[in-house]
Amino acid sequence: MSDTEVISAERKRAFSIDLKAMGPALALLILCIIGYSLNSAFLSEGNITNLLTRSAFIGIIAVGATFVITAGGIDLSVGSMAAVISGVMIIIMNNLVDTFGAGAVTVLIGCGCSLILGIGAGWINGALTTKGKIEAFIVTLGTMGIYRSLVTYFADGGTLSLNFDLRGTYRPVYYDSFLGLPIPVWVFIGVSIAGWVILNRTAFGRYCTAIGSNESVAKYSAVNVDRIKTATYVIQGFCVALATIIYVPRLGSASASTGVLWELEAIAAVIIGGTVLKGGYGRIGGTILGALILTTIGNILNFTDVISNYLNGTMQGLIIIIAVWLQRADWSKKKV
């Protein structure tokens, strides 16, 4: 074997690794090019802002889901959880208007309750999975149904609406900008950075990866498996609560149709981003790209009338599969 052969083999390897990691970024880039070629307004400041803000909900939830999935779990309840948290939050704030007025205090208490509810709901999922020894799929499928029916019950089958005076106070949380970026985008950025640091730089993140790779190894390596797994669901609940806090001021309402299918979008964002569904390997950066890809698909479809409305689902499905294929396909093997 000559030196040049070695070098070219190394290069091949580096290239294939790059392509895998870059898969989601590449897919997003292609989408943006398609969007721009369909309509130059796609890259207008307004549309980009809309896109980022819209991605914030799914993105924040998906950052939480990255932890759960990396540690080998799954949470199907996030969409319903978001709905029930927004519902309860609205009820609480509406009732507090008489006592505290329609000012920031009421909103802050509402947000606080939202966080407590999110953490509590996450803990329930985690405890049932670890202490109750029930598969996460079943636990969260169960809580998904419970939360969804609870919000329908609270809303009497209809819609819960935020008090109109409160909307004025709360509205800026969704609609205002700071340094040119809407506040939800800042929250998204904050959650992403925190998520990345926790997953990649702390013992907790390392433990999540270890548990997802092999629970027995983690247990024999002095990792408190139950506690770490429960914590991933708590983080997920916290993220859902954060997403809810920026969701409620948008339309000021919650109903049985709030957050429908968010769980699948969040899981799809995580997997598109390169995290392994069965656990052991997580990528926060990829998750963020995944969330952006999902929102961009919907956005582009709204920007064109070339494709029949009825085929929206087909386009979304195709793009999701292609995005994952870009990172999974074994590029290096093909060249041998």
């Binding site: 029916s149 089958g157 209809g158 819609t159 948008r250 956005n299």
Partner: protein
């Protein structure tokens, strides 16, 4: 809703136990409809419960049995129970889906009960004695008529449609037929699934895409809420821009009463249609004239002048 099904259940059992004494002389009418999962259906449920109270007070010998079911199979079972347990004299049914419920309704008919079908027709003709429904094409047509009265040739509108279904198609096709030839441009139409969040996002994208929009047909009041939020966010809610929704949500109607210029009208798809059907069915037993036939409720244009009579502040919708 849970508490309501319990109520209905309790009511049903109460009838069974007290039935021995008064069953002979009471007229029993079963009312079966899907469990409400969205606001319009919740409104329908509310109106039906109001009608039950009102009719039973008015006619002490009438017993209305309200049962809602979460899926077609459950509804079919509920219909069987109504015949076997409650021995109903008449059935008011809003079928979950047409095909799977056609046979169960035929079975009820064979027991000798009077059949009233609401909103969604069955797959076979001639089963029902009475048919009560909203008018989807009319909703589209009335909306388009209003658009024509407000807009002039060369003005631009966008359309946000519902969930891809027959209902949505009927509304949309009638709207397009009416608007044709008026010179008003329909820039594009997208599905917003009768959902506020989707309404918001689709409208945001329309606003980025089309710099000049004069009016929006949102088809539904839930979508309209999202549309209005998007318009306000973009600061494009002035200059005579207006949004036409549909269905008759109480907040929307309150807005019309208060003179909201962004949503000056609404087109009714009456959430009270199940209550109307109950009225007609009771009338079939109480009226001296013939009642059987088809009742197609109007898609009334609600504006400032008549809004008050469609405003039910206690209804969830």
């Amino acid at each position: 809703m849970f508490k309501k099904s319990i109520m209905a259940l309790a009511l049903g059992t109460a009838v069974v136990f007290s039935g021995a004494a008064s069953a002979e002389e009471k007229i029993k009418i079963g009312v079966s409809y899907p469990t409400p999962t969205h606001a319009w259906a919740a409104g329908m449920n509310w109106h039906a419960e109001q009608a039950e109270k009102r009719l039973e007070e008015l006619y002490p010998d009438v017993d209305l049995i309200l049962v809602n079911s979460p899926d077609p199979a459950a509804q079919a079972s509920a219909l069987e129970d109504m015949v076997s347990v409650n021995q109903i004299d008449a059935l008011v049914v809003l079928p979950f889906e047409s095909d799977p419920l056609t046979d169960p309704v035929i079975n009820v008919k064979e027991s000798g009960a009077l059949i009233t079908v609401v909103d969604r027709g069955l797959s076979k003709e001639g089963i029902e004695d009475i048919y009560v429904a909203g008018n989807n094409p009319e909703l589209g047509r009335v909306s388009a008529e209003y658009m024509k009265s407000r807009l002039k040739e060369g003005d631009n509108i966008v359309i946000l449609r519902g969930i891809p279904t027959t209902i949505d198609n009927e509304r949309f096709d009638a709207f397009m037929a009416e608007i044709e030839g008026s010179g008003i441009n329909v820039l594009d139409h997208k599905h917003a699934n009768w959902n506020r969040d989707d309404g918001f996002e689709v409208m945001q994208d329309f606003l980025s895409r089309f710099p000049d929009i004069d009016a929006v047909w949102a088809q539904d009041d839930d979508i309209a809420i999202g549309v209005v939020a998007a318009l306000k966010q973009a600061g494009r809610d002035g200059d005579g821009m207006f949004v036409v929704g549909g269905a008759g949500m109480k907040e929307t109607i309150k807005g019309i009463m208060d003179g909201n210029e962004l949503q000056p009208i609404d087109v009714l798809y009456p959430p009270a249609m199940l209550a109307t059907a109950m009225d007609v069915t009771v009338a079939a037993f109480k009226s001296n004239g013939p009642v059987a036939g088809r009742y197609i409720l109007g898609a009334t244009l609600i504006d400032k002048d008549n809004a008050e009579q469609f405003y039910f502040p206690d209804s969830p919708f």
